[in-house]
């Protein structure tokens, strides 16, 4: 998603132009009524406009110029709020456009039987239904979401993920899902359709970024209620001020009652327009930030929930450790030299195409400089060599050549082999095996002609930087739990090395589900990342479930977020975005209400200037005239919305420093700052108005 700079500025201009148009379209009262605060401002704008027209005919309650100016700035207030929402939506729309371009109807090769050789019919991709099977060949666009049932191929998923490197997709396993709109680069795939037209992954994504299906999140609803409450309070305050003013004029015997224009101006200044105007932009921008980080959230609710996560469950393999174990050490038994063991280990692993096997070859090569007999690209065994592949019956693998049999396998199997052939098990073998197991490693015993040579130490390699990521999570108040199929001993060792807080060993899908439920019963909010089909039940149970885009279709269905980068520690960013979203709302609410203090000092002396001139003592900002005081407050109130749009879109930064400090800092910035800033702003605007002789 890195657009060149020049292109970006053009894009930005288009975006803003469209947003300006949209802000006017959004003036439609039926749209405005969704936002009670801004709806009140719009009603106020209409009323003052009416009063202005009345004043033009010479029957106004105040000079037409003043009423007109108030009316214009009230309209600006509404428009600025609409603009913020339109800009936020515009960004989403731009992304949706890009996505939609990949969405053009394509021809799909629908198969009658799931067989590469069978005949296919060319149909429109929109005609494919759930359960249909179709064929994709090199350079075809994958028409709709589906599950690979046959084949292996490289796929360009850049349209969805923005990542240009092709990825491998294959039937079975955890990488069997494909997304509509991506392109096949090589080979062929037979795909079973998993989503009807319009319900695919890409469709959902487009809907989401466009904001068309955006529903208010629970928190947003609660905040809206509070803001509506404040709006009603200030309606009461302003509405009752008219009778009070009438009575005061009567008893003081001088002055004129407060005008409707000033009352409306006061009302608009007092109701929380800053947060009310920016609230929807904040929500849209939150979703947008997710997408910028290549995470697709299925709902705003999920994003919000992410901020509340207490416990994070992580799969060990591929998340905490590199996908595969690697050989790190060769430990010969007494009487055997290290190079001898290395050679035997290498020979036994030559045909072993598993990553573990390859790592043994590499270790022998690098550490003992054994160039050895490498396998050719032809997959043919070198002369005279007969490789024994791993099988579930023998539970070992190896090679036979020149009458020599080399085997490697799990310690208990290999020891049984040695003993059954009448050889003694070397006394130090068991010790070595135990040491490795205790350290969290996996021991493999190597034998030559049924005699033990030594042990290969296979080890889980913890990903670089992961420990720091977990420390970061801990600071955020999130507990990390590693889930692994390993035995508790191994699990504990890796957990300690990676720095997770807890682990679940020998995890079955049921055990995972049980663990999540236990945490949830304790009132905690559980997040989980997963990619396999066996993760699906747990993902469905978790409150925040992030599926890897490389994951299986069931996993992606069960999750409420999909990470297009398939980066399991992305959850940290997801949590941060969720927190930012809430923090931005809270901070701007505080700011908005704190602003009111200064507005009283501007407007109250001005409103009652004719009845009680003595109230000018409260005009501590020394604003020029009553009119300029009211205008300055109204203008400040409108401009602050524009000024805060960048903050609303970017979000208040989150730092993992603990709730107490975060609160202190935000109160200082948005609370205390919110009291002080408008004093300065209103004074400056007043000085400007006076300098320009506008009042």
């Amino acid at each position: 998603m890195n657009t060149p700079k020049r292109k970006k500025s053009v894009f930005q201009r288009e975006l803003y132009q469209r947003a300006v148009v949209d802000s006017f379209i959004k003036l439609n009262p039926r749209w405005m009524v969704r936002n009670p605060v801004m709806f009140v401002v719009e009603v106020g704008s209409v009323l003052t406009s009416g009063l202005w027209i009345q004043a033009l005919f010479g029957k106004g309650e105040a000079p037409a110029g003043f009423i007109g100016a108030v009316a214009i700035w009230l309209w600006f207030t509404v428009l600025f709020a609409n603009f913020s929402e339109a800009v936020a939506e515009g960004r989403g729309k731009a992304q949706a456009e890009a996505l939609r371009r990949t969405r053009q109807t394509t021809q799909a090769k629908k198969l009658k039987n799931p067989d590469h050789e069978s005949k296919y019919d060319l149909v429109a991709s929109t005609a494919l239904r759930k359960g249909d099977v179709y064929l994709v060949e090199a350079n075809d666009i994958i028409s709709v979401d589906g599950e690979i049932i046959q084949g292996i191929a490289s796929v360009d998923e850049s349209a969805v993920t923005g990542e240009s490197a092709p990825v491998i997709r294959e039937a079975g396993g955890d990488r069997s899902a494909v997304t509509g709109g991506t392109r096949l680069l090589s080979d062929w795939l037979i795909i079973r359709v998993t989503a009807d037209p319009g319900e695919g992954f890409l469709d959902r994504m487009i809907n989401l970024v466009e904001g068309a299906k955006r529903q208010k999140t629970p928190n947003e609803i609660a905040l809206n209620i509070l803001l509506a409450g404040f709006t009603i309070i200030f309606l009461i305050v302003c509405a009752t001020l008219l009778p009070y003013s009438l009575y005061s004029v009567q008893i003081a015997g001088k002055g004129v009652p407060i005008t409707i224009t000033v009352l409306i101006a006061l009302l608009v200044c007092l109701i929380p327009t800053t947060i009310g105007g920016l609230l929807s932009a904040i929500g849209i921008a939150g979703m947008d930030r997710m997408i910028q980080r290549n995470v697709i959230a299925m709902s705003g609710r999920a994003v919000e929930a992410a901020g509340d996560v207490d416990v994070l469950l992580l799969d060990k393999t591929g998340t905490i450790t590199l996908g595969n174990r690697q050989a790190v050490e060769l430990l010969p038994v007494a009487g055997i030299s290290a190079p001898d063991l290395a050679e035997a280990a290498q020979l036994a692993s030559l045909a072993d195409e598993t990553p573990e096997g390859r790592s043994i070859v590499v270790l022998a090569k690098e550490k003992y400089n054994l160039r050895g007999r490498t396998m050719g690209s032809s997959n043919e065994a070198p002369e005279g060599m007969h490789f024994i592949p791993f099988s579930a019956q023998t539970r070992m693998s190896g090679v036979d050549f020149d009458g020599t049999a080399i085997r490697k396998g799990a310690p208990d199997t290999m020891m049984a082999l040695v003993q059954s052939n009448g050889h003694p098990v070397p006394s130090d073998l068991q010790t070595t095996v135990d040491t490795i197991a205790r350290a969290g490693g996996t021991p493999l015993v190597v034998t030559k002609n049924n005699q033990a040579l030594g042990v290969i130490h296979l080890k889980d390699i913890v990903k670089g930087g992961i420990k720091e990521r977990f420390a970061h999570l801990r600071k955020m108040g999130i507990k990390t739990v590693m889930i692994t199929g390993d035995n508790p001993l191994t699990a504990a060792a890796i957990a300690a090395e990676a720095g997770v807080d807890d682990f679940l060993a020998q995890a079955t899908p049921e055990a995972k589900l049980k663990l999540i439920r236990e945490y949830q019963t304790g009132g905690r909010l559980v997040a989980m990342t997963g990619d396999g089909t066996n993760d699906a039940p747990a993902l469905a149970q978790a409150d925040v479930a992030v599926a890897m885009n490389t994951g299986t279709q069931p996993a992606r269905e069960a999750a409420n977020m999909v990470d297009l980068d398939s980066n399991p520690t992305k959850l940290i960013e997801v949590v941060e975005i969720g927190k930012q979203l809430l923090m931005t709302r809270g901070a701007l609410t505080t700011f908005s209400i704190a602003n009111d203090v200064s507005k009283y000092f501007a407007i109250i002396p001005a409103a009652f200037a004719t009845t009680y001139p003595i109230l000018n003592v409260l005009n501590i900002m020394k604003l020029t005239t009553p009119q300029s005081a009211i205008m300055s407050a109204v203008i400040f109130n409108a401009l602050i919305i524009i000024a805060l749009i960048p903050l609303a879109l970017r979000g208040v930064p989150y730092r993992p420093v603990g709730a107490a400090r975060l609160l202190r800092d935000n109160i200082l910035i948005y609370g205390v700052g919110g009291v002080i800033a408008p004093f300065i702003g209103i004074k400056l605007i007043d000085m400007l108005l006076a300098a320009l002789h506008l009042v």
């Binding site: 509070l226 409450g229 305050v237 009752t240 009778p243 927190k579 609160l663 109160i667």
Partner: protein, 601 residues
């Protein structure tokens, strides 16, 4: 202010806070159904009452049933008080032979006492029979206080419990509050007051000879009752010597004890605790003003105890105390400064060893400036409404602070029970905004604060503003409302604002200077008192019911701590800013402008 005034105020605060913990713990035991040292005395009575009333004490209620029970009991109580006033002429214990109270005044008084307001449009010693005072008013003094405390306990249980819909049994809470808390405290306080000279008798009013005979002039009348006129047509005046005075007495001490303890405030006599038979000595004054805030402050500790974290209680108590002390300081300062207009007349307003100085208008010499200011602040902080000086005669700011304390929602300690649930509504709003600022779904004591709670908390903030400001608007707009005003100018406006605010806050104190025993004020204030009481109590119970159903989230590093100085400061800011934003314009046209006018010259 001299050193003795300071010592008195500091001593008062120290005793109040020191008593909060023991009394608070005791009340927590009462509400949690645990054994107390009073069980041998009241246990059998309690069980007998349940048996007579058919109450199953072990059956708890959900919030709706609890609220219905509360409303049913209160409406019934209201009707009884109304009936007793209307029928008192036919009933015993009426030595002065008072007739029926007027319908509008009866309605007003019935609502007033049922809602724990004790706004008194009538003069007690010239209107109410002993029977009415004792069975209608004093009974309501107990049960209206118990109602408020029961509602608060319902909310506390909602916070303390989880995954249940039960918040307690209203009848049990009502009974236990009355038997174990209010009766014993009132009994002890009554005796202490009697020891100071507060009257307690069933005898008729006493006629006594004056030590210093006085006289007054009145127009002379002839045998037919017509005024005798002189040659120029002016009435002929005659001098009447006065050698005797009728002293109103009655069973006062018992009612005064509970009117102070239960934040009722309805005096036995018209001038309330400024009357020497109601508040005889500086020591009785100390006891009475202590009794105003005693239960409200201790109940905050009870809250902390019942939710299992006393720090939470202390935090709220600290916020209340800081606001109270700050506002008390302003009142004392304003009153001690005195009125420059009076100083100009040659009156010495400087304090000395023989001169209290300051503004002594409307104050009793036996209490002086500091104690009168303390009482005025305490009685309005706590929705009590009893007075030992006339707020109408306070300096503009000295009158504004009590008025504003009512505007804050009667939550600075507040009414018994009602103060706590009102404050908890502010806590919920404060927690919501602060919780957002730390990036989590806001939670208080492990309970998520969601839209339902916000709705109810907003109602609790909003309704008082509607009734206080809306009522005043009607008052100043209508001729009937304006007719009651005795002082012209901003002061008269403040009197109307004070009346509706006092009714809204279920305070009951009057700014005086306003003739309120009229059909307009009796009816309007009655309506305001009714709505502002129950439309706050029911949402509070609704919050309790909703929170009780929720899961309890264990606290973690990301959880907003609600017991720290930072949160206390935040809570204070929320209370003060909401109070200021709601009422500053209204106050600007009354006491603020009046203050500026007095000191401008």
């Amino acid at each position: 202010m001299n050193i003795f005034s300071w010592i008195q105020l500091i001593f008062y605060m120290a005793v109040l806070i020191a008593l909060a913990k023991p009394l608070g713990s005791f009340m927590a035991r009462v509400y949690q159904g645990q054994k107390t040292f009073l069980d041998p005395v009241f246990g059998p009575v309690e069980r007998l009452l349940y048996r007579l009333a058919g109450v199953h004490a072990d059956q708890e209620m959900n919030w709706k049933v609890y609220a219905i029970a509360l409303m049913a009991f209160n409406v019934l109580g209201l009707l009884v008080v109304y009936a007793l006033q209307r029928l008192q002429g036919f009933l015993p214990l009426n030595p002065q032979g008072f007739g029926a109270v007027s319908p509008d005044s009866s309605w007003n008084t019935a609502v007033s006492f049922a809602t724990n307001t004790n706004w008194q449009g009538y003069g007690g010693e010239t209107t109410m029979s002993y029977l009415t005072q004792m069975t209608a008013l004093t009974v309501q003094n107990f049960v209206s206080a118990a109602t408020g405390m029961a509602a608060a306990v319902g909310l506390i249980r909602g916070l303390a419990r989880h995954t249940t819909d039960k918040i307690g049994n209203f009848w049990v809470d009502l009974t236990r509050t009355t038997l174990y808390i209010l009766l014993p405290l009132a009994f002890v306080l009554s005796l202490a007051l009697v020891s100071q000279g507060v009257v307690q008798t069933f005898s008729q009013y006493k006629t006594v000879s004056l030590l210093q005979p006085a006289s007054f002039q009145q127009p002379e009348t002839d045998a037919n009752g017509n005024t005798v006129k002189d040659a120029s047509g002016n009435p002929v005046m005659e001098t009447v010597p006065v050698t005797e005075q009728t002293l109103a007495v009655g069973p006062a001490a018992s009612q005064i004890a509970i009117k102070q303890l239960g934040t009722n405030g309805g005096g036995f006599f018209n001038v309330n605790s400024a009357h020497p038979f109601e508040n005889a000595t500086p020591f009785s004054n100390f006891l009475e003003v202590l009794a105003i805030l005693l239960i409200p402050a201790a109940l905050v500790y009870t809250f902390g105890k019942m939710v299992g974290d006393t720090r939470q209680g202390w935090a709220i108590l600290a916020a209340m105390t800081i606001i109270f002390v700050a506002l008390l300081a302003v009142t004392v300062w304003a009153e001690q400064t005195g009125n420059p207009a009076i100083a100009k007349l040659g009156v010495d307003i400087h304090q000395s060893n023989i001169n209290p100085g300051g503004n002594m208008e409307g104050k009793e010499v036996r209490f002086g400036v500091a104690n009168s200011a303390l009482w005025a602040t305490a009685t309005t902080a706590a929705s009590n409404g009893s007075v030992d000086s006339m707020h109408d005669s306070n300096m503009p700011l000295g009158g504004m602070i009590p008025l504003w304390l009512i505007h804050l929602g009667e939550i600075i300690y507040g009414g018994v029970g009602s103060g706590l649930y009102g404050m908890l509504a502010f806590v919920i709003v404060g927690v919501f905004v602060a919780g957002l600022m730390v990036g989590r779904t806001p939670e208080y004591l492990g309970k998520k604060i969601e839209s339902y709670e916000m709705k109810m908390a907003s109602l609790i903030l909003l309704i008082p503003m509607l009734t206080a400001l809306g009522g005043t608007a009607i008052g100043v707009l209508t001729p009937a409302g304006q007719a009651g005003v005795l002082n012209p100018g901003p002061h008269g406006y403040t009197e109307i604002l004070y009346a509706f605010s006092s009714a809204t806050g279920n305070n009951g104190s009057a700014f005086a200077g306003l003739s309120v025993n009229t059909p307009f004020y009796n009816t309007a204030l009655g309506i305001v008192m009714f709505f502002a009481r129950y439309w706050l109590a029911i949402p509070a119970l609704a919050i309790g019911g909703s929170l009780a159903r929720k899961k309890k989230i264990p606290a973690g590093a990301g959880t907003l701590p609600t017991h720290t100085p930072l949160f206390i400061g935040w809570l204070i800011a929320v209370v003060v800013i909401v109070g200021a934003l709601g009422f500053l314009p209204a106050l600007a046209l009354g006491p603020i402008v009046e203050h500026l006018m007095i000191f401008a010259h």
